[in-house]
């Protein structure tokens, strides 16, 4: 199993979720984060003082998928979340050793 961590633009969340559902993804963890990256760096004024906006609001998705589903999920995310403009985000893939569904006690790929 793989843990896919994706950081995307907030307004893309619904679209990405829908598309992931279509390919059979049944669970997600969604969190709001601040992203630091190339997209930042423009300046704003606050009460006459200039400052650099470093952190941009982003959505972080985490989903655990079966190994053979992982490429498809990554593809779906990268296609759907893409606007072509800077700050579209990243996808990272990590290996998951085990999974467990608390309600049923199922483990492994059945738990996803």
């Amino acid at each position: 199993m793989k843990l896919i961590i994706a950081v995307i633009k907030p307004f893309k969340l619904e679209e990405v979720r829908e598309k992931l559902t279509e390919i059979g993804v049944q669970g997600l963890m969604v969190s709001e984060i601040k992203g630091y990256g190339r997209q930042g760096g423009h300046t704003e004024m606050y009460r006459g003082a200039e400052y650099v906006v470093n952190y941009i609001p982003k959505i972080r998705l985490e989903l655990v998928v079966q190994d053979n589903n992982s490429l498809k999920a990554i593809e779906v995310i990268s296609e759907t979340a893409k606007t072509g403009k800077i700050g579209d985000g990243k996808v990272f893939v990590l290996n998951v050793e085990d999974a467990l569904r608390i309600r049923t006690g199922e483990t492994g790929e059945n738990a996803i």
């Binding site: 704003e44 004024m45 606050y46 009460r47 006459g48 003082a49 200039e50 400052y51």
Partner: protein, 442 residues
């Protein structure tokens, strides 16, 4: 707010009319009886008073909105506490100190009686012969709110780094002594009043005085950690809650009708009623002028409107018109307010350059705009000399004594929280209570 004067005039007018020996019909259809005058004047004080009381909530919300969330509970606590302290200090010491009457001065024109507590009219005015123009209780209530306002101004400037207790002790001294003594020079008919200084509702006596105390505090206290970097850059520390800051501004705007309108001190003649109306209108338009000036100016200078500056601008407009809300035309009042708004947009960054860290902009709003408003009285009423002397003497007096007190407090008990406590937020170190502990579903 020259109380006795006003009453005199009111009475004279009433008497004159009576003296005209009108026929009974004319009489009853034109005169406002002494008793009715008394009731209406009292009512003005009460309505004005509760509106100014409401400003305490305005300051609390404005400041809670402009500090970072880790300091919000402390800021709220300071605001509730200072208002309560003012109520008691002004009762025990301040009120009679501020209005010594003819014979009450300890140092004629400069210092009233310190050991003298306020009392009210007896219940039902029982055994009351002498009929003044209004009830003492309504006057006390109204004047107390001005005293509390002065203290409210201080709390915003020194936010996010000052310990709770030194602030509360300073508040006691400010509301019991500093403000009442300074105000007595004018409203107690002391020396400033005698030289012809004019400050209708207190651009200087309340607002610039409060700002002077705040400035002294900010100097002794120093800026927030990380606010001014060594390389000269300024780190903005955005306020945590814009709706609260906006709500606070609207509350203050509303309360200001009581602040300025009530300072007419009389509603018992048609002239007074018309004047209170002028004051309401001018107060409102000055706020509008201040807000729009700041809005346009930040758009031009920064390419984007800065809401906090617009809010500060509205308040600066209100402060500016406070010294003379009656004489100007609507257009004049708008202009006076607009200049207040411009002042704020320029002095807020200026103070930052001087490394004076004023969290909510109170020194600019209440101090600089307050001085502007007081001097601007000379446009309509002349007497620039007296205006300068009055403004300077009040500000310097309050500033120097405040500096002394802050310094003493700092020496005795330390007025600033530790570095770590400041970084973690005062709500955690001073109170152990978060302002927004969840915003979650736990």
């Amino acid at each position: 707010m020259f109380k006795s004067l006003k009453i005199l005039i009111t009475t004279i007018i009433a008497c004159t009319l009576t003296a005209k020996a009108l026929s009974a019909e004319e009489l009853s259809s034109e005169l406002v009886s002494n008793h009715t005058v008394f009731i209406l004047n009292t009512l003005l004080f009460l309505i004005g008073g509760f509106l100014v009381m409401w400003m305490a909530a305005g300051f609390a919300m404005l400041e809670a909105g402009l500090v970072r969330s880790k300091n919000v509970t402390t800021q709220l606590t300071k605001n509730v506490a200072l208002f309560s302290i003012a109520a008691i200090a002004y009762y025990l010491v301040g009120y009679n100190l501020m209005y010594p009457g003819e014979d009450g001065w300890w140092l004629s024109g400069y210092l009233g009686p310190i050991l003298s507590i306020a009392t009210l009219d007896p219940v039902g005015l029982k055994g009351f012969d002498e009929l003044g123009g209004y009830s003492t209780g309504s006057d006390f209530f109204f004047q107390l709110m001005f005293c509390a306002t002065t203290a409210s101004i201080v709390s915003g400037t020194i936010a996010e780094r000052m310990k709770l207790w030194p602030f509360l002790i300073f508040t006691i001294l400010l509301t019991a002594f500093l403000y009442p003594i300074a105000a007595s020079w004018q409203w107690g008919e002391g020396w400033l009043y005698k030289i012809g200084f004019k400050d209708f509702a207190g651009s200087t006596l309340v607002h610039a005085a409060g700002a002077s105390a705040a400035l002294a505090g900010a100097i002794i206290l120093g800026p927030r950690l990380g606010k001014y970097k060594e390389n000269g850059t300024i780190t903005p520390m955005p306020g945590s809650n814009m709706p609260l800051a906006t709500l606070g501004t609207f509350i203050l705007w509303l309360g200001w009708f009581g602040f300025n309108g009530g300072s007419q001190l009389a509603l018992g003649t048609i002239g007074d009623a018309a004047d209170v109306s002028r004051i309401f209108t001018n107060t409102n338009t000055a706020a509008a002028g201040g807000a729009l000036a700041a809005l346009i100016l930040t758009q031009i200078m920064y390419k984007k409107i800065d809401l906090t500056m617009v809010l500060n601008g509205a308040l600066a407009g209100l402060v500016s018109i406070t010294a003379e809300p009656l004489a100007p035309s609507i257009g004049g009042a708008t202009l006076i307010g607009a200049i207040g708004g411009v002042i704020v947009v320029f002095t807020v960054p200026l103070l930052d350059k001087l490394k004076i860290d004023d969290v909510v902009g109170a020194i600019s709003v209440h101090g600089v705009a307050g001085i502007w408003g007081t001097l601007a009285v000379a446009f309509s009423n002349g007497g620039l000399g007296a205006q300068i002397i009055g403004t300077a003497s009040i500000c310097i007096f309050v500033f120097l004594l405040s500096l002394l007190i802050w310094y003493a407090l700092d020496t005795i008990m330390g007025i600033r929280v530790s570095e770590e406590d400041e970084l973690n937020g005062l709500d955690s170190s001073e109170l152990g209570m978060d302002a927004y502990p969840d915003f979650s579903k736990s």
